[in-house]
């Protein structure tokens, strides 16, 4: 909105010249972050009360042998708070005509809706496992992946140049390693499913998923800024993506909303993000990574998500289904530490530190090319 005001009313000859500030991505990013944070702080207590009143409370399920009764009754679906904060702030500060931005906002809405539906079913059926079936969730994620791939790879719809859209870039290499063309659809679909589920799997402790998501948003925001600037991208030997810089504002809004949510989600949590938040965060961040062609960087920056998802996959499919034994004490890996007697808040803080290291590594790949 502010960007639109600048474009409509900017006049260098009078006081309206101040509107030029809204032209700058840096100014709007700061504004978006602060706005999202404040929105969360203001809306948060009301939303939490509302969620409690309507009975939207966590349906605890078996986490191995651990006592989970202390968590029973905590409101869930706090992801709505993240979405309201981030998307509300983005509407105010982003140039919503920008295709990068609306595609990511669409991702947030789609995955947020999917997660909310899952949460609501769990609440209605009073069971932590009786939400949407795995098949339905995968189908919805694949559908979105195909839609994004379609928009991204069809020249008239794509926000990037056609020759760039189908290329696969990886860190440390200046040039695309593969020209996949339509084969890129597969990469996009798989990546979309993986990114949203990774965050979903990680979300099992107070503050555990949101902080790595904040770091990932920060890293992707930095990349979007660089790739959206012709001078910086040329200097660092990246492909220039006009308009991608606008994603920095959205990332900043996401970051602000994440910090705002953490205010309530910090141990002991007053609200959980639920699938409404975890799927939406994963979906949005994954879509951003696809749009700016930094899928591998997403996996480095979100290393915590990858480790969590990998541990869960290994435990479920290799250990319990194939070998008939556990590989880890418990999975996802954070439950292993909890099972060993390490306190929840300590595990969360240690994972935050690891997430910060992963984020720093991801940013370092920018220069090591």
């Amino acid at each position: 909105m502010f960007h639109l005001i600048y474009r409509l009313f900017y006049d260098p000859d009078n006081i309206l010249r101040l509107l030029r500030l809204f032209r700058y991505i840096s100014v709007r990013s700061i504004g978006a972050g602060i706005t999202a944070f404040l929105v969360c702080l203001i809306v948060g207590p009301r939303l939490i009360r509302r969620l409690k009143r309507v009975g939207a409370v966590d349906q605890a399920w078996d986490y191995g042998v651990l006592d989970i009764t202390a968590k029973r009754g905590t409101p869930t679906m706090g992801g709505i708070l993240i979405l309201v904060g981030a998307l509300g702030s983005a509407l105010l500060w982003c140039n919503v005509a920008n295709e990068f931005v609306w595609l990511c906002m669409l991702a947030g809405l789609w995955f947020g809706l999917l997660g909310s539906l899952d949460d609501m079913l769990k609440i209605r059926r009073a069971s932590g496992v009786k939400g949407l079936s795995r098949g339905v969730k995968y189908l919805a994620q694949i559908m979105f992946g195909v839609a994004i791939a379609g928009i991204y790879l069809i020249p008239d719809l794509s926000p990037v140049k056609h020759e760039v859209a189908g290329s696969l870039y990886i860190p440390f290499v200046k040039f695309p390693i593969l020209q996949l063309g339509l084969g890129y659809v597969f990469i996009i679909v798989v990546f979309t499913v993986m990114s949203s589920n990774c965050v979903n799997i990680t979300d099992g402790m107070d503050g555990l998923a949101i902080v790595p998501a904040i770091f990932t948003a920060l890293v992707l925001g930095i990349f979007a800024y660089v790739l959206g600037r012709e001078d910086y991208s040329a200097y660092l030997h990246y492909v220039y993506l006009p308009g991608a810089g606008e994603l920095t504002v959205l990332c900043s809004a996401l970051l602000g909303a994440g910090v705002g949510f953490l205010w309530f989600n910090a141990y002991p949590a007053s609200v959980f993000m639920g699938d409404a938040g975890s799927l939406a965060l994963g979906g949005m961040l994954g879509t951003m990574a696809i749009l700016i062609k930094q899928e591998v960087v997403f996996f480095i920056a979100g290393g915590v998500f990858v480790v969590e998802a990998a541990s869960s996959f290994i435990q479920d499919y290799v250990g319990l289904r194939l070998l008939g034994r556990r590989i880890f004490y418990r999975a996802p890996i954070h439950f292993s530490f909890l099972h060993r007697g390490v306190g929840e808040s300590k595990i969360a803080v240690r994972f935050w530190i690891i997430a910060a290291v992963f984020a720093a590594l991801a940013v370092a790949t920018m220069k090591l090319r």
């Binding site: 002991p268 556990r326 909890l338």
Partner: protein, 272 residues
């Protein structure tokens, strides 16, 4: 594909019996028999669980074989150890099978076998040596002769879960100086859960063998109680739990209820 579907259907049929067991004992026995003979470990696992749930003692010999079978899936052996611990009755064959399972390569089998021994055995059963061997290796006799042992220096058991249950088992089956030394050593474990189990086991041992009483008290008082703490302090929950227990007991004394008030002047976490 067809093979996978068949396997899934065999497993789901078996699982449904676990939720809703057959009405007659004979039908249950037949179901368990066919499950334990299945080629799929997932189905055999359900058979083991159903044996425990229905209390079918005729299958205990089969469970004793399972628990020491090197080729059996770890989860099946683990559950067999659990069932033997709960339903095995403590006869020599069961105890020997569980002792044999202490050497299993999978930690959950070792830990559940130790737990089962704690449930079934006492000091007269003479099963402590295999527990020492599991904890300290083949040279456990020499290790346990030393005056003070710091467990990290000699421990061969890597799993905290096994060490914890082994300590618990020693509380029940341990005898004399060796058990005392082993438990004292385990009170220096890096994991607070193990230290906790060892301290309680030390108490159990001391209550049985009064010669160690004073030393046990000293060691428990010196216990490193610093822990990462998996359990939060929720005073209101604690109050409600106590209050519910008291009220359910029928005739609570007024003084007991009064104890639940928080001492607001000295911090919310203190009881008055």
């Amino acid at each position: 594909m067809l093979h996978r579907l068949r396997r899934a259907s065999e497993y789901s049929k078996a699982s449904s019996l676990l939720e809703d067991p057959p009405k007659s004992r004979e039908a249950t026995v037949n179901a368990v028999e066919s499950m334990l003979a299945s080629r799929k470990w997932q189905v055999r696992n359900v058979g083991v669980k159903l044996t425990g749930k229905a209390g079918l003692e005729e299958f205990l010999p089969r469970l004793r074989q399972i628990v020491v079978d090197r080729r059996e899936a770890g989860i099946v052996k683990r559950n067999a150890a659990d069932v033997l611990g709960l339903r095995g009755g403590g006869d020599r064959e069961t105890v020997d099978a569980l002792v044999g399972a202490l050497k299993d390569l999978y930690w959950e089998v070792r830990s559940r076998s130790a737990l089962a021994l704690w449930r079934l055995c006492g000091p007269e059963d003479g099963v402590e040596d295999p527990i020492y061997e599991m904890l300290f290796g083949s040279k456990h006799s020499e290790v346990l002769k030393r005056p003070v042992i710091y467990v990290d220096d000699y421990l061969t058991e890597k799993s905290f879960e096994v060490r914890g249950y082994a300590a618990q088992a020693l509380g029940s089956v341990g005898t004399g100086d060796r058990a005392f030394r082993a438990l004292v050593a385990l009170t220096t474990d890096e994991n607070w859960v193990v230290r906790n189990q060892a301290a309680v086991a030390l108490g159990e041992l001391a209550a049985r063998e009064r010669d160690f009483y004073r030393s046990a008290v000293e060691w428990v008082e010196r216990l490193d109680v610093v822990c990462d703490g998996a359990i939060s302090i929720f005073p209101i929950r604690e109050s409600v739990n106590h209050l519910t227990a008291l009220l359910r007991s029928g005739e609570p004394e007024q003084a007991q209820i009064r104890d639940l008030y928080l001492h607001l002047m000295e911090g919310w976490h203190r009881r008055s």
